[in-house]
Symmetry: none
Subunit: 226 residues, 4 copies
Amino acid sequence: MGISEASAGQEIGVKKTRQKLIRATESLLQRDGLARVTTRGIAREAGVAEGTLYHHFHDKAGLLHAVAQESMGAFREVLEGLPLQVGQRTVRENLEHMLEAAFDSQLRIAPILCSLFADHQLLLRTREILNERRIGPQCSVEALAAYLQAEQRLGRVAVDVVPGSAAELLLAGSFHAAVLDHLLARQMNPAAARLRLQETVRTLLTGLKPRISGESSAPKDRNVEL
Amino acid sequence: MGISEASAGQEIGVKKTRQKLIRATESLLQRDGLARVTTRGIAREAGVAEGTLYHHFHDKAGLLHAVAQESMGAFREVLEGLPLQVGQRTVRENLEHMLEAAFDSQLRIAPILCSLFADHQLLLRTREILNERRIGPQCSVEALAAYLQAEQRLGRVAVDVVPGSAAELLLAGSFHAAVLDHLLARQMNPAAARLRLQETVRTLLTGLKPRISGESSAPKDRNVEL
Amino acid sequence: MGISEASAGQEIGVKKTRQKLIRATESLLQRDGLARVTTRGIAREAGVAEGTLYHHFHDKAGLLHAVAQESMGAFREVLEGLPLQVGQRTVRENLEHMLEAAFDSQLRIAPILCSLFADHQLLLRTREILNERRIGPQCSVEALAAYLQAEQRLGRVAVDVVPGSAAELLLAGSFHAAVLDHLLARQMNPAAARLRLQETVRTLLTGLKPRISGESSAPKDRNVEL
Amino acid sequence: MGISEASAGQEIGVKKTRQKLIRATESLLQRDGLARVTTRGIAREAGVAEGTLYHHFHDKAGLLHAVAQESMGAFREVLEGLPLQVGQRTVRENLEHMLEAAFDSQLRIAPILCSLFADHQLLLRTREILNERRIGPQCSVEALAAYLQAEQRLGRVAVDVVPGSAAELLLAGSFHAAVLDHLLARQMNPAAARLRLQETVRTLLTGLKPRISGESSAPKDRNVEL
DNA sequence: AATGAATGAGCTTTCATTCAT
DNA sequence: GATGAATGAAAGCTCATTCAT
């Protein structure tokens, strides 16, 4: 709240106070966790007075939901491009690409989403929003399942696969990885994370069943088989 | 907390106060979430005075860690029986059985584990415990991976499968399901939950790749192939 | 506060904003009580911006005083017509009529007047106004006492009565009724309220002392005796 | 919260904290008015920590009600002795005595009672208490009316008097006086206040009606007539 | 070991007031 | 004159922790 910043804020950000609050909250949520995030801290981080928060949101929960919604929204967009890729490239490549985007998103959302479990009242209100607005994790699963079904029709995915189950497994894999990375403070470099996801995709594509002939998932037959 | 109850507590439970506190905390954590759990609430639920808590634990965080430890510990036991089953029955049956147990455990732990994300200070100390005591999710993954590797040696799992990746995928599936069930307040009956897990196992066993011949995962060849 | 309403306000009420604020405040004072009346609420009720209040009044207390002054002023007018009625009709009728008017006024003022006790700083400044401007309850008492004294001179009121005491008793009766109606949320219909006041007047006219002869306050001798 | 006071508090007042809080609140209520009374101020005045308030009362309103109830309680006791005095001394003396007690009580209660009008939420809860517990002003009226009716049977009060109406008039007179004394900051010495009340009683006993004969309320016939 | 009244820092929220437009 | 976003002091209240008993 230095002088320069204050005047700068008035020049540039006349109507951006709301966004500043959301960004500040998201940032603190990531850094300290829901329980440690106070309205005082948010206001300080956003560079505004504490009372200002209440001009833009009904209360702290309202702000928190705005943050949750924005984050969830990002989640959604990731999956919206999927339908366009049906039949393009290989299934493996599409899934890898999708899963990387999902993981990035989940890595950001996971601590916020998980935080909700700390306050069942907040969890309750979030549930309602998720149901009303048709957003949230289950939508991602549906979008991915739809993609897999489309590929199934093209013969690029085995006919006996249940698309919903496979979609859930993939997203679960990346969500689990995101949660564990946070929980264990694993500092994954992007390359390692990508490799892990590729491994996940490969495992699911191949399956665990032993195969009689040499129909392994060797790189050579990528384009042919899938 | 009448007189009779107090003395009864002294007769029977002289050294069980600690356990009562842990149970009470776990129960409240499940019901209300970390943020709503107060020392007063815990004391009331446990049927002791508020001050008593501090005779058994250094502070609230200490109690919370004891709870986390117990919960995480339970997670471990689930997987300890796995090595005994190598080569027994079918892989599918073993995995189904294991995954059901894991899911039950995760359904209980998920809200507590997730709650930790609300308080990064608590998360930090929990991390240390997880690392020191060699408990927690990553141990389950390792145990399951070891089992898969053993089956791989017996030829009951495809040789080109990375056991760690497959193990993570399975446990991720059940963890994801547990979190979503809580988040969306899905009331799953046990039968439906079991079916869902069986579907997950089947999907992973089969894989997504289309197969030329009719080597589907039809029920008939269960015992033969796996 | 849409555009049309704002411009309409500028056309018609250019200089009535002050009155709108006073009316709005009075109305909210009645409905919610002093403690619940906020500048924001007043502005909204008056249909102006919050800041506008400070163009017309030095601060919230200034506005509150304007309201108190107006209310108290209304109290005075009620009694101004009394002198004209000396010697007219019966004393009983005049008193009944006066008391009804006083009660109506007090029913409106009581909650505002009483509210002042919640803030002694406000009470202090109100006192000054009451003393300076010669308005307020004690003026009503004096006006009524003057009327009674005039009737006393005409022999329509007993010579040994202290006019001030009787005047206070009458107004006290209606004030007390007004306060209790508010306090207990008694929903009095006008007819019942009128009857109660008539009873009050009759009681005071007759007095409690037992009388030897049958000189009751029977309706027949109304005009004769009074 | 000096050291000496703290230890003194622990010696003497182990279980009197609740009373200290009530006394402190009552005192501040009188001095500053409801709106200026803060939990912080109460705690300081009582010499305890702010949080202590919440060990003894659910919230500020709860404490306020305890205060109101205590004050009201004093009001009640005043009237309880009345039945014993039926037929004793003169009616005038009994009423004077009663009214003095009522006035003392009302002088204390008035600012608190009136304060309630500043917060309609508080008013609402008070109403409920008044209705449930059968206390409050209307009970005083009833008790006094019962006394007057008893005197009526003994012929010491005129038969055509409506006891309820007369009782209300008397208590209204003293309530009105109490409110105005506060409102105008009249510093009445006890003697003047007593005289005023005696005047009130005399006025009501005599009535306003002019009397033909000399049956005035002269001091000589006190004991005989009443 | 157990108690529970007391503590006080710190939380969310309200609201009268200011001021650039 | 009018606006309303921004302010920040102060309110009511919570709760982990202490300590005399």
